[in-house]
Symmetry: C2
Subunit: 210 residues, 2 copies
């Protein structure tokens, strides 16, 4: 039977990552989040520390090339370098394709839903997790130690980066309901509730009910 | 225990209405769709046939008032009529509040999620159903007898009206993932699959698991 790949897009502070981890653990399948960076570093030949900083970010191609001296001949016409964010995206996308061939798994972010959208060899369940702002702020402060005074700004900035990354590489709108097979408000269901709903759905997909 | 109200927003041709009907039947709870028109007619004192035509539409207030002669004194400054669409919205909103006090039920469209958003006396499950365009066209042609050549346009026009109606009265964006507690792609799960997922969630809400 085809592997089931659960991709999870998430608003910052919604608990999407934790839901993904617990879901993978409950289903006893693979889990890919930042681990993709480590694997991508090996694949692309770039230092992991460099890639870490570029994760789910878009680097303004031309400006970045100039600043980092990644230009040949110093002329705009002869730019032949590929920005690190693009290299990382390519390496991660290839890895996502490879991993999905090998095993059922959960993949967090990184446009995985878009990368796998037309793959006929897998069963894709594209998920998005969101929550009301006040609950995300609370989680951000408690869980990630974000300054309460700047919490709203930090959340919005992170989501803006994710949205930009997603739309840059996928040409879709991040958080548009039609991109996702299943979206959940973790503010209503809680972390464990979301895991329960998702595990039920995946188990029903596995057994052929869904 | 508080009534559980399941509101369902839906793309045209996604099967949202049918899912709602089957869900209500499976849970043995009330179902409100066009029935709200009949009840609203009684409430507002307007003819049902007139309201039917205004359902989930916004009437350009001033122009509509002029065309239908709903102006007093013939002067723009003395317009004191309320457009029929606004009267219908008000009557429907009051009914939605009343019904939600009385019984657990499924309500299709009509900004019910927005009307009930801050109601502390109920448990609200706000749902959105969508599906890929090709599947919605197929359903529109087979189920509603839409002309295949115009199907895409018909779908888009209907969704545009729903989106406009929703944003006009709610000040939210129709189809924005964050408005809904649970969104499903009926193209992946099928009509019965969506009913199954939703019934499971509601039953878990009832039993206190969610």
């Amino acid at each position: 039977m085809s592997n089931i790949i659960i991709t999870i897009g998430r608003q910052f502070g919604s608990g999407g990552r934790e839901i993904g981890e617990k879901l993978a653990s409950s289903l006893q399948i693979g889990y890919y989040d930042k681990k993709l960076i480590e694997l991508s570093a090996k694949k692309s030949g770039l230092a992991q520390s460099l890639l870490q900083d570029q994760d789910e970010k878009v680097t303004g191609s031309l400006l970045y090339s100039i600043v980092t001296g990644n230009m040949v001949g110093g002329s705009l016409a002869t730019v032949n370098s590929v920005p690190i964010s693009d290299r990382l995206y390519t390496a991660q996308s290839e890895l996502i394709e490879e991993v999905s061939k090998t095993e059922s798994c959960v993949i967090i972010g990184r446009c995985a839903d878009y990368v796998l959208r037309d793959n006929p060899d897998i069963r894709l369940l594209s998920v998005f997790i969101h929550a009301p702002l006040d609950q995300r702020i609370k989680r951000g402060v408690e869980k990630y130690g974000i300054e309460p005074d700047n919490a709203k700004k930090t959340l919005e900035r992170t989501d803006k980066k994710r949205a930009h990354y997603y739309s840059y590489y996928s040409d879709r709108k991040w958080g548009d309901v039609t991109n996702y097979d299943l979206s959940l408000n973790s503010g209503l269901f809680g972390i464990d509730g979301c895991v329960e709903v998702l595990a039920d759905v995946v188990n029903q997909m596995k057994s052929g009910v869904l």
